[in-house]
Amino acid sequence: MIIKTKNLAKRYRKVKAAKLFHKEYRTFYALKNVSLEIHQGDYVGLVGLNGSGKSTLIKMILGILQPDGGIIKTFDKDPLNNRQKNAAKIGVVFGQRSQLRWDLPAMDTFKLNREIYQVPERVFIKRVTKLAQMLQATEFLEQPVRTLSLGQRMKAEFIAALIHDPELLILDEPTIGLDVLTKNNITQFLQQLTDKTIIFTSHDLDEVAKVCSRILILNKGKLVLDQSIQELAELDVPASITFTSADKLSADLIKQWPNMVQLENGSYQIAKIKQANLKEVLSTITARIPVANIEVKSNKLEYLLAHLTRQEVQ
């Protein structure tokens, strides 16, 4: 077992009002009653909206934050008291934070990490070469980090986090601000990694779904869903279709889809289409209307969150 938590809770103090000499606080729970198990080899996607407590959970797993209730074990040990010991087996990429030395080439940070994690020289060279190849990062590793683009820097961060071949790889919103191409590149890279356990946090469910085999959803500090990706795919999440057309729509079509609306930019949108009906609607549109552009979207996370919280209320 890599990670096990039981009824894990964390509360923070938030400043309510700042007076001149003292501040008033109120406490609130950033995490509440979170119980989960993560096993060797799991690729876990941790999803939630901003402020849902993802980073808080990650910090407790890493042992840099103390729980206020419940139990947490990382590598079967209390992470707080075994922080440095566990750290040797964990690699972390924080999307908003850099571990690279700003004024130096990324390679120098790698070398420093080699000493910190005590990786033998030969292994180190082989590993860096291989990782750089997989991420297509070979050319810019000798360039000062401040001259790198965001995408290049993130790739370097990944290499820095994997120098010591950690068992557990933790990614806290690593793709924030990256373009589609780089994102795909990183997704492919993660798929190629073997015998690792990965925790990947993001607020984009689709992105996480590409890499992970299991999804955890946090909402306001509560774990509201823990399912495999297959189970999730089977859920009937309604989709919405948006299309544009040069021609006017005929009246009978408009009648056929009463919940169709025309958006401000002139395109049409049909929301809440059940999975079963999706094919039919699509073929009708393409057959009857000369569409210039068409897009199918299912906002799974929003739907799930709305759905799951309603369930709770009932």
Partner: protein, 258 residues
């Protein structure tokens, strides 16, 4: 052993980072040397007024000055980043340090060095050697002083860490950290010039007296070799005390997340 190797790596990397700003580096180096020379000239002026201050001759006062500067230069060369701890906490970089399997304070302190402190280090070493020759102190006394300075620099490190902790607990008095520089100013003169209360404070509370004044008196004047052990022991003791405080502080950080 492992930490020594790490130290070497950090040093290599930090020096490389400095070399990137080469021109500025030499400017600063020259500037620091000029300032030191002028400080000494100013001290010399004082001795135009009186031949001795509380029994100290010009050369003896210079020795105190040299010892303090040496210890402070070592602090600035190797430990200067301790002044930035509160920045690390404000922008969350402390997290990236806590997730590494190496002592956090060690990492923090080694992440940056001060580029212009090397000028100070050179001046202080030269000055120490010259003054010792003037005072007819044998070579081994100079060697002892250098040995002791390695430890007394820990006092400044301790004060810097202390300043940071106080600054963080008091929410925003971040500039308090710079007081370390004022403490350095205090350490440049013999304890004998201060009032007895201050002397007590500087010996037992903020141990700046141990940086230069006590080593000079005990080693160069009285030749009591036991102080060769006592002084480093005092420095290490003070540092351990502060280190415990730092650990308490880390625990607080880990429970509140800020």
């Amino acid at each position: 052993m492992r930490y020594l190797k790490l130290l070497a790596t950090y040093l290599k990397i930090n020096l490389k980072a400095i070399a990137i700003y080469d021109l500025d580096f030499y400017f600063a180096l020259a500037g620091m040397i000029i300032q030191n020379v002028l400080n000494i000239v100013a001290l010399r002026f004082i001795f135009n007024i009186v031949p001795r201050i509380k029994g100290y001759s010009f050369a003896q006062l210079l020795l105190t000055y040299a010892l303090a500067t040496l210890a402070f230069a070592i602090f600035r060369c190797f430990f200067i980043n301790a002044l930035n701890i509160s920045d690390y906490i404000h922008d969350g970089r402390l997290d990236t340090i806590l997730i590494k399997p190496v002592n956090p304070l060690f990492q923090l302190v080694n992440e940056r060095v001060d580029e212009d402190a090397w000028g100070d280090l050179i001046v202080a070493l030269l000055l120490l050697i010259i003054v010792d020759m003037q005072l007819h102190n044998p070579w081994y006394i100079t060697a002892m002083f250098i040995f002791i300075s390695l430890f007394t620099s820990l006092i400044f490190l301790g004060l810097a860490v202390l300043g940071n902790i106080v600054a963080l607990l008091s929410n925003g008095l971040a500039n308090l950290v710079e007081t370390t520089f004022d403490f350095f100013d205090m350490s440049k003169y013999p304890l004998a010039i201060y009032s007895s209360t201050l002397r007590l404070i500087m010996t037992f509370i903020f141990p700046i007296g141990w940086v230069a004044s006590i080593p000079q008196e005990k080693i160069a004047v009285e030749h009591e070799w036991i102080w060769l052990l006592l002084i480093p022991a005092a420095c290490v003791f003070f540092f351990i005390l502060i280190y415990q405080l730092w650990r308490v502080f880390l625990q607080k950080y880990q429970s509140t997340g800020s």
